[in-house]
Amino acid sequence: MSKSRAQAKPLPFGQRIDLVTYGPFVALALLAILGGIINPTFLSPGNLTNVLTRSAFIGIIAIGGTFVISAGGIDLSVGSMAAFLSGVMIIVMNNLVETVGVSWTTVILGMLIAVGLGLAAGLVNGLVTTKGRIDSFIVTLGTMGIFRSLVTYLADGGTLSLNFQLRGIYRPVYYDSLLGVPIPILIFFLVALIGWILLNKTRFGRYCLAIGSNADVARYSAIHVDRMRTLTYVVQGLCVAVATIIYVPRLGSASSSTGVLWELEAIAAVIIGGTALKGGSSRLWGTVAGAIILSVIGNILNLTGAISQYLNGAVQGIIIIVAVLVQRSGRGR
């Protein structure tokens, strides 16, 4: 029974600073200090922008993942989806060179294809999960295999390369800066900001959390549970498309090994950020910090040389487990 009776009438606004919310940022700050101590080049502006730029792909995908996970689902197909979108985007743009020519129009058409395909792929994941009443883990495990094999098929087992001249036009999207900030970082920040507003300030976001917390209660609160759940996968698909759009100009190619294990890194970023895997809670800026943490670890290992960078995955694994342990103590079991 509760302690309510002993309380006086005007209720205080209970505000508490908790580990789950601020943990990821504290961890990131500690890592940065550690990195600076180990190797001062870590804190050089060049290195920092490099780390942030590299974290943008996983980060943007993880922002979509925050929606899916907070509504109680999971999407394992994102890495394969990114590879598939990259492949189709490259093929379409290469073919457009003949008709439209080497121009921004071609690139923009390619981007639109990626966005449309991302939305469609998300819609498929969402509809099969909700209408088919199949666990999202199984559905996206299936589509993960499908997307991966489709890109392998399209590339005929090899590599799809973007037309060399097109690469010249498209290149700035990844390599240029605006007001001194690399474009991928700007996009990352912008997606995070929109995501945060959507998740914390709108009805859609509120419904996602309600569904993740208890889908039955959501249904009895007149929320269209299936529709909202499907939408989270569509948001995820859109985020994958955006990540693909800034990824393609980086290497200008796609193959069966593009985006391998991205899904795990994205989920890890979400969890490190403080979102509960079982749904019902979300920490969008935590996800951003989580994605950066993963990228910082790799970078520090690169710079030290003390630990082989082949152990990158092991260190990341430890961080994930420690993060969850810390969060659990913060949530008070």
């Binding site: 009776r5 606004f13 709108t202 208890n214 007149a222």
Partner: protein
């Protein structure tokens, strides 16, 4: 002197800075059934949770057989012979009944499980509970009352000296309650002592030897159950006399029909149900647990598959394909399952309060007006007299009665015209019940139409203008005015009265 098996001396418990139990002296004699009653938040659960090892006392002593004991865990308490039957189920849903009964206490033969022995024992225990539950059935496939029986069987199998029952009858039918009482008496004869927590005072009167009354964390008194009437118990709990548990309902309004259901059916649970609801009317739905009352309402509102029938709202045919359509027409439903379907217990009060009516708080671009939400929360706290640790408090930290007030506030947010309240006072203390009865009455007086589903007949009788009785998915009778009494309703509910020929004349309205 009586043989005291368990005693607490000056027991105090603080949660953070808040003290919830004050100098509690409680005494349990060997072989007695001792009821502990009090309003929600009175400290009943806290007291038994200390006794059963869930909480450590902040101050004071716990004596078992005259010796001071200190339970650091429930296992310590179980080893000392104290076993608790929970209000919330602690069963593993994917395991069988038998596996649950022996969970953690598996019978073994060498390194292997002795399944034959466990099956034999579980059969015997289930038979003593006169339940039809099969030992090999999966718990997830059981009904709520069957789960409760399994929970009881589990506790009995532990062969405890002291058995603590926290509202075991809340979800049981009358017959099941009688079986449980017989079992309790036979355990009593074997020397088992039972602490029995319940809100149902008639049951306390029937089964208990002595009654300890708590209020606001203090012990008000302990009496022999024979010396105490139900009214006196209620008065001790609340600290004042409850003269009028039920408000004056006024004459039955029968002029303006608001809602009419025609031949509503739902596969496997509801068949061909028709009834009508008038403006300013409180219409009761009585029947045994499982009679299909909840299912009928859910089928009407698009929360459950409907295989036939139609719904008229103020003369207009309604197509309620989803609950959202019902909400748009301002027809709301309060679920009987507060924690499973009504409220998000891990979310804050405000989050829950506005969830159903969130569209009202939407501004441009779908952004939510959080200030308006806060304003509504303050208003609801004031209007419903909600007592919570803080405004940002998570639902879990509220007592059952206060949770129910938030649930009521939540459906009131859509400014409903028709309210369907399913077991609106389940698991709630007397004082809050009274508040809710008056609230429902005010709603009806103010022009709303209310349907109340309840398994507590006194509530139906005291509150409603008209009562519809259901049995096995069908509407079998209707009682109005002076005919609203326990005997008449039970005759319909049990199938003694109200054959099929009566069904055509239903739904006068």
């Amino acid at each position: 002197m009586a043989d005291v098996i368990l005693e607490t001396q000056k027991l105090c418990k603080n949660f953070g800075p808040v003290r919830v139990l004050f100098d509690m002296d409680f005494e349990l004699r060997r072989g007695e059934i001792h009821a502990v009653i009090g309003e929600n938040g009175a400290g009943k659960s806290t007291l038994v949770k200390i006794v059963s090892g869930y909480h450590l006392p902040t101050e004071g002593k716990l004596l078992l057989d005259g010796k001071t004991v200190r339970f650091l865990s429930t296992k310590d308490a179980e080893d000392a012979g104290i076993c608790m039957i929970h209000q919330e189920f602690n069963l593993a849903n994917d395991l069988t009944v038998e596996e649950n009964i022996f969970l953690g206490k598996e019978r073994r033969r060498g390194p292997f499980l002795d399944r034959r022995q466990m099956q034999k024992e579980s059969r015997a225990i289930l038979a003593s509970l006169e339940t039809t539950v099969h030992p090999r059935a999966r718990v997830k496939n059981l009904s709520v009352s069957q789960k409760q029986m399994v929970e009881i069987a589990k506790a009995v199998s532990r062969k405890a000296d002291i058995l603590i029952m926290d509202e075991p009858t809340a979800v049981l039918t009358r017959t099941e309650i009688q079986v449980l009482f017989r079992l309790m008496r036979s355990l009593q004869e074997q020397g088992v002592s039972i602490i029995y927590i319940s809100h149902k005072l008639d049951e306390v009167k029937e089964i208990a030897d002595r009654v300890t009354v708590l209020r606001d964390g203090y012990k008000v008194g302990v009496r022999s159950a024979d010396d105490l009437s139900e009214e006196e118990m209620a008065a001790m709990m609340v600290g004042r006399d409850i003269e009028d548990m039920f408000p004056d309902r006024g004459p039955a309004p029968r002029e303006l029909e608001v809602l009419r259901a025609e031949a509503v059916s739902s596969p496997g649970s509801v068949e061909d149900c028709s009834f009508a609801l008038c403006e300013k009317e409180i219409l009761g739905f009585a029947g045994l647990v499982g009679a299909g009352r909840t299912e009928l309402m859910e089928a009407m509102l698009g929360l459950r598959e409907r295989s036939g029938g139609r719904l008229l709202y103020r003369g207009e045919t309604l197509s309620l394909r989803s609950y959202r359509n019902a909400i748009d027409k301002r027809i709301v439903y309060l679920s009987e399952d507060r924690k499973g379907k009504g409220l998000l217990i891990d979310k804050a009060m405000g989050f829950n309060l506005t969830l159903l009516a969130l569209r009202r708080y939407s501004r441009s671009l779908g952004l939510i007006d959080e200030q308006a939400e806060d304003h509504s929360l303050l208003h609801a706290i004031e209007e419903f007299d909600i007592r919570a640790p803080s405004q940002r408090a998570v639902m879990q930290t509220l007592s059952g009665g206060n949770q129910q007030k938030v649930a009521l506030g939540k459906i009131m947010e859509v400014e409903p015209d028709v309210l369907i309240l399913d077991e609106p006072t389940r698991g709630i203390d007397v004082g809050t019940k009274q508040q809710i009865y008056f609230f429902i009455n005010e709603l009806a007086k103010g022009g709303k139409s209310v349907i109340v589903i309840s398994s507590e007949l006194p509530e139906i009788i005291g509150l409603c203008h008209r009562v519809v009785v259901m049995r096995s998915g069908r509407i079998v009778g209707e009682v109005v005015g002076a005919d609203i009494n326990e005997e008449e309703i039970m005759r319909y509910a049990m199938g003694i009265k109200g054959g099929n020929h009566r069904e055509q004349e239903q739904s006068t309205g």
